[in-house]
Symmetry: C2
Subunit: 326 residues, 2 copies
């Protein structure tokens, strides 16, 4: 079995070509605290606590073939992230969905990366006056982003387990609430790239696998699937992968996973809204399963993921033909 | 001895009244990647990694009576923060100082809060392509901010040691590199305010004191001064306090400090560029030294800090009369 290619399929379907609402949205679309604008016009106030203090919750949903995937799941997770950080979304779930849909229509792309957040708003005169915070909502849409593109997914990612950084612990910042705290992940990425690797994986202080930058980590050993139970985002693609594995009759272990298990795995992959299921070739230079390229089970899950998505599974179709009131 | 009041002194000196360069800078001034603008016009691109991933280093210096305090120390620390995060400031130290000085002049305030950062710049198409990142520089100046104003410093702050959050550990994000990772601190502040306290203090996973949101923590026991040696920002006001204590012949202990030491302290205070030396009245409801209000040694250090600053100690005077090339 070989990895099916997403970009190939997109190129074959002219309807996927981008056609922005107007020139203003050619780079992408944004919604800044009440108004739609072009991506290049979207500025977060410099004194917004979301910038100065990473004081925000966010989420990312994807659109492929003009269809949101699991939009309701993303909206629900976002609400939980806000609750965990005591942030109040000024928009209802329905209003949020409308804004995101309008942004996709304005950007005119049928393959979209859709990002939104609620921040604690502008710095108040008295930081201890909780009533004075006015939460702000910002969102943008750009063409779809892959952590690993067709070429990388076909050969499999070479990853490095970070030696220099551990993932921020849940006792500091709850990773199940999607947040802007990425410095540990960014620096581990630089560590990996400097070591000629494609991506990094972070552990916690005890050496348990946590997550990769923007992605969950999975491994397969003796035909069974393992993924960490804590210290990581409860990814929607992670949830989807567990469902696909269950459908395929693969035994599942959601439990603490140590680094040696990853090094000795038969197969492994990372999952993200930004790229789906992405095969790993090697970990710290050790080629998994003694064979270059994605493993069989990983490839099957990868292909099933895209086939089901493109078949309309849990999809919310965007109607590009109705106009947006700006 | 009583706490000298900063605002009183400011009000007595007409030269301190704000006089913005023009109406555009009435709310404050900003410098966004090459151009000066009014604070209300200052927008960070929504796809800047400094916003999306808190991928930035920053610093804050203050101006009182038209004089920067320890500007060189702040510039030096900022350079080190950038190095630790592998960020490159597009401006030299001299250019950075010029930008900050111009911002103070444009805002026209002689009592200023001066904030600047370097971010990893706009999200590149390929996150693993380190060469494609273009660091961005943003800065702003607003009227001076106090964590604790005259009234609060006179009565002393009532603080709470956070029960719900520990400070992000150095193994995840180095706290000596001033960074935007504040969610642990922000949520501990809400925890404190909900508990009718003024400010919070965070510990590490082992129960050692780390820092307070935006401030270092100090305590005095039997006439000797204690402050944590790690897990915290190496604050410039912390450094200043240690120098003032040395001058005053107070024995100094820079070493791990556990929470029970704070609860049993005779006096305590927090330090920050945003407010100087700020006395603590109580910790978790326990009034320190069995007496309401700031302790004697704290008061002496507090007053000495402002007297020396206002006397021109380590000052860089801003020449408000020369114009800024916009």
């Amino acid at each position: 079995m070989t990895i099916i290619k997403a970009e190939q399929i997109m190129l074959n379907e002219p309807a996927h070509a981008r056609k922005a609402h107007d020139e203003r949205f050619a780079m992408g679309s944004a919604f800044m605290n009440g108004s739609y604008c072009g991506l290049h016009e979207a500025g977060v106030p410099i004194v917004d606590m979301g910038f100065m203090h990473a004081d925000a919750a966010y989420d990312v949903v994807s659109v492929s073939k003009g269809q949101f995937f699991r939009l309701e799941d993303h909206l629900e997770r976002f609400e939980k992230s806000c609750e965990k950080f005591l942030l109040i979304n000024p928009y209802s779930r329905e209003q949020t969905a409308d804004i995101l849909t309008n942004l996709v229509k304005l950007a005119g792309t049928q393959e979209a990366y859709v990002w939104w957040c609620v921040t604690r708003g502008m710095m108040p005169a008295d930081r201890a006056d909780l009533e004075s915070y006015q939460p702000a909502f910002y969102a943008f849409v750009i063409p779809y982003l892959y952590i690993a593109n067709d070429e990388q997914r076909t050969r499999g990612l070479d990853v490095m387990i970070s030696k220099n950084y551990i993932r921020i612990p849940p006792s500091s910042v709850d990773p199940t609430a999607k947040n802007l705290h990425w410095m540990d992940m960014k620096l581990s990425m630089i560590e990996a790239v400097m070591g000629q690797k494609d991506w990094s994986v972070l552990t916690d202080a005890d050496g348990n696998l946590a997550e990769a930058p923007g992605a969950n980590i999975f491994l397969i050993k003796d035909g069974e699937l393992y993924t960490p139970d804590s210290g990581c985002l409860e990814g929607i693609t992670r949830k989807t992968t567990l469902e696909l594995a269950r459908e395929a009759g693969i035994p599942i272990h959601v439990e603490p996973v140590i680094t040696s298990q990853l090094l000795e795995a038969d197969e492994a992959f990372i999952t993200s809204t930004a790229g789906g299921i992405m095969p790993i070739n090697s970990v710290d230079g050790v080629v998994l399963g003694d064979t270059d390229g994605p493993g069989e089970i990983t490839t099957a899950l990868h292909n099933r993921y895209w086939e089901k998505r493109w078949g309309g599974w849990l999809a919310t179709t965007v109607d590009y033909d109705t106009s947006v009131n700006l």
